[in-house]
Amino acid sequence: MQIKKIFNKYTVILLFIMFAAFNINSYPFLGGIFYTSNYFENNRFSTIDTVSFFLRQNLNDKITFYTRLTGGLKFYTDFIKTEYIEAYSIDLKNFAFIPNIDLLYFEFRSKKIDRALILDENDNIKKIVNYDLFLIKFGRIFVNHSSGYLLRMRGDGLDTFFTIKNFKVRLFGFTNSFDYMPFFNFEDPSSVPVFTRWDKKRYPAFSNRLLNDNQDGFISDIADSEYNFFFKNKLYTDYTAEDKERLNNLRYAAVLAGRVFTGFTLEFLQIYFQNLSVGFLANIDLIPNDFVLVYPSHISNALYTFGGKYNSFYISFNANGKIVRNLYYNFEAVYQTGTNASCVNTGTKLYVEEKIIQSFSLNAKLSYFFNHSTAPTVHVEFIYGHGDQNAEFWEDVILIRDTRYKFDHNFRAPVSPKLGYALEPKLSNLAVLIFTNTVKPFGFVKNEVFSRFLIETALLIFMRPVIKGDAFIPEKADYRKGGMLYNDPIKAYLGTEIDIFLKWQIFSDLNIELKNAVFIPNGKIHMNSDTENPDSDNYTPYWRIGLILSMSF
C-alpha cells in the first residue's frame, strides 16, 4: 500500500515534468561567463579563475528551467620576503577545485510582468507596472532576503512570492546541506555562512586528509590540535567500543547536517516613491547533538570544538525610497534572538551551555545622484552590529565560555554586508561610517568605450561599539601596564580603510576592475595583547590590490 502511494506520487511528478518537456515552444538561451580575480595582500597572492555555463529554457509561457554550471580553480600562496629569504609556499592545500552546479531550478509564473507607458491626466508619461504575479522557484536557487543585508546565498529549496497591486508577500525555505563545494576545497573547506566550526568542518574534505593511526573519530586526527572529535560527554569517561561504533556510523550521514534557512517578507511597494517591508528569517542548525562536545580524554582541547550549536532568528524592517529629486535613502533595522551553545570547560567538567542571543543591527544610507554628464554620485552610510564584552571571536566563531553570563549580545547574520575590500570584516561588534563617491570622468566624451570608465573611492571608519568586546581586530581595548589592567577609550576606534576602484566596461561583454584598498589600524591597538608597553606602534597597515576581469560569451 505504502509503495503504491509513493509510486503514485512520483508518477504524477514524472508525468508533469514530461508534459512540461513536450510543450517546449522555444529554443534554449545558452551562455557563459569567464571570471578571474587576482589579488595581492600583505603576505599572500590569491587567484580565482572560473568558467560558468548557463542554460535558460522556457518550456512554455509559464515554466522556465535554468541551470548554471561552474568549473575553475582557486589558488593562493603565502610569501615571506626579508632581506635574506624569499620563500613561497606551494602545497596541495593551496588549491581548491570548483566543479559545481551553482543553480538548477524550475520557475513557474502566473503571467509575464506587464509594463506599459501611458499618459496621466497632466500628460506626463507614467510607467505602469502590473505587479499581480505569482512566482515559485524550486531546486538549487539563489535567495536574497532583506535587500541582501541578512541573507544572500545559494541553497536547495524553494522561493515563492505573489503580489496583489502594491503588496507583495514572499516565502522561502532552503538548506545548504547539499552544497558539496567545500569537498573539493583543499585550501579551507569553509562554507557560507559560518556560525560555528561545524559549518566549516562537516565536510569530509581532502584538506582534512592528515589522518594518523587513530581514525575512529569523525574525519580528523585525534592528535591534531586543530580540531577534534565531538562525542557527547555524558559520563566524563571515554566512550565504549559500542559508542564509538555508533558515533562513527553517524558521522557518515552527519556531513549532510548543514543549516536550514526559512522566512518571509511582507512588502509595500512604491507608495509615494517609498518601499516598506518587514521580514522574518530563521536559521536552524542541524548539527547532531552527539557531535557538540569534545572527546572526553581531550578535555583540554575544548576550545577546538565545533563551536557548539547556533540557532538564530531575525526580525527586520526596511524602508527605502526617494526623499527629494536625486536624493534617495535606505534604512534597515534588525533584531536578532536565538541560542548560541558554547562549550564550557570548568577544569573538572565539560559541557555545553546555551546562551540567549539578544542583539540588533542598523543600516542607514543616503545617496545623491548629480545631473551631470560625468554622472557623479555621493553616498554616506552608517552600519552598526552590536557586540558583547564577554564574547571571544575564534576563527569566526562567537564563544561565550564564562558560565556567569547567560546572554550573547553579538550580532551575527548568515552573511555580512560588504565592509570594504582590504579585510572585509563581519558585522559583529562593529560600527562603520562609509563615505563613497563614484564618477565617470570621461562621461562627456563621445566615444562610448571611454565614457564607461568609472572611478569609485571610499573611506571607511571602523569603530567598536562595545569597547571591551572582541571585534575583527582580536585585540581588546584592555591592556596591561606594570601588572595593572587598563582600558583606553581611544581603542573604540579600530582603524580606517581607503579604497580606490577603477572600473571599466570596455565592451558590453568585457569588464575589468583594478581594486586598491588599504586598512590603517588604530596605532594604539597592539598586535600583541600581552604587551607591557601600550604606546608601542607595532601595527602594520593591511593592503590588498586586486585585478578582476569578467567576460560573458
Binding site: S26, Y27, G31, S508, D509, L510
Partner: protein
C-alpha cells in the same frame, strides 16, 4: 492585447502614407512565421531602397548597405532572432561587444540587441519570429536609430 492594437494602428498609419509598405506589412502581420525574405524586404524599406519582386535583386541592393549576412540563408527559410539581429545590429551601427565585433554573427548580434532592450532578455538566437513580432522589432530598431541619429 495593447501591443497588438498599437501595431495594427501603426500598420494602418503606414498603409495610409506608404501604400506599398502597407501592403507588405498587412501580409506580414498575418504570418505565423516570418520568412528570411520578409526580413530582407523590411530592411530594404528601412534603408529606403526600391524593393524589387526578385529576392536576389533585393539581396544585391542590401549588400551595398550591409556588409555581413548570415552564413547560410535562403528565401524560404523561417526567420530567426539571430538572422534578424545580424541586419538590425548593422542598421543601428553597433560597435560594442568583443565577440560581436569579432564574428558579427547572429548569436552575439542578438546579445547586443538585448542590452539595448530591442530584443527581450534571454531570447534564444534560434527562436523563430512571427510576422507581428518582426514588425514590432523593426519599429524598435527604427526608434533606436532615430533616437541616436543613425541613418
Amino acid at each position: 492585447m495593447k501591443k497588438t492594437v498599437l501595431i495594427i494602428f501603426l500598420i494602418f498609419v503606414i498603409n495610409f502614407i506608404y501604400p506599398n509598405q502597407g501592403d507588405f506589412l498587412n501580409v506580414l502581420s498575418e504570418k505565423k512565421n516570418a520568412a528570411f525574405e520578409d526580413c530582407i524586404t523590411s530592411f530594404c524599406y528601412l534603408y529606403e531602397l526600391e524593393v524589387k519582386e526578385d529576392f536576389n535583386e533585393n539581396i544585391e541592393m542590401l549588400k551595398q548597405k550591409i556588409k555581413h549576412f548570415p552564413k547560410k540563408y535562403s528565401k524560404e527559410n523561417l526567420l530567426t532572432i539571430g538572422d534578424f539581429s545580424v541586419f538590425a545590429a548593422q542598421y543601428i551601427n553597433i560597435k560594442s561587444g568583443i565577440f560581436y565585433m569579432a564574428g558579427k554573427n547572429g548569436r552575439y548580434a542578438s546579445r547586443e540587441l538585448m542590452i539595448i532592450n530591442i530584443i527581450p532578455l534571454y531570447t534564444s538566437e534560434w527562436n523563430k519570429i512571427s510576422g507581428l513580432e518582426l514588425i514590432r522589432l523593426l519599429q524598435k530598431v527604427d526608434d533606436y536609430a532615430n533616437k541616436k541619429n543613425i541613418q
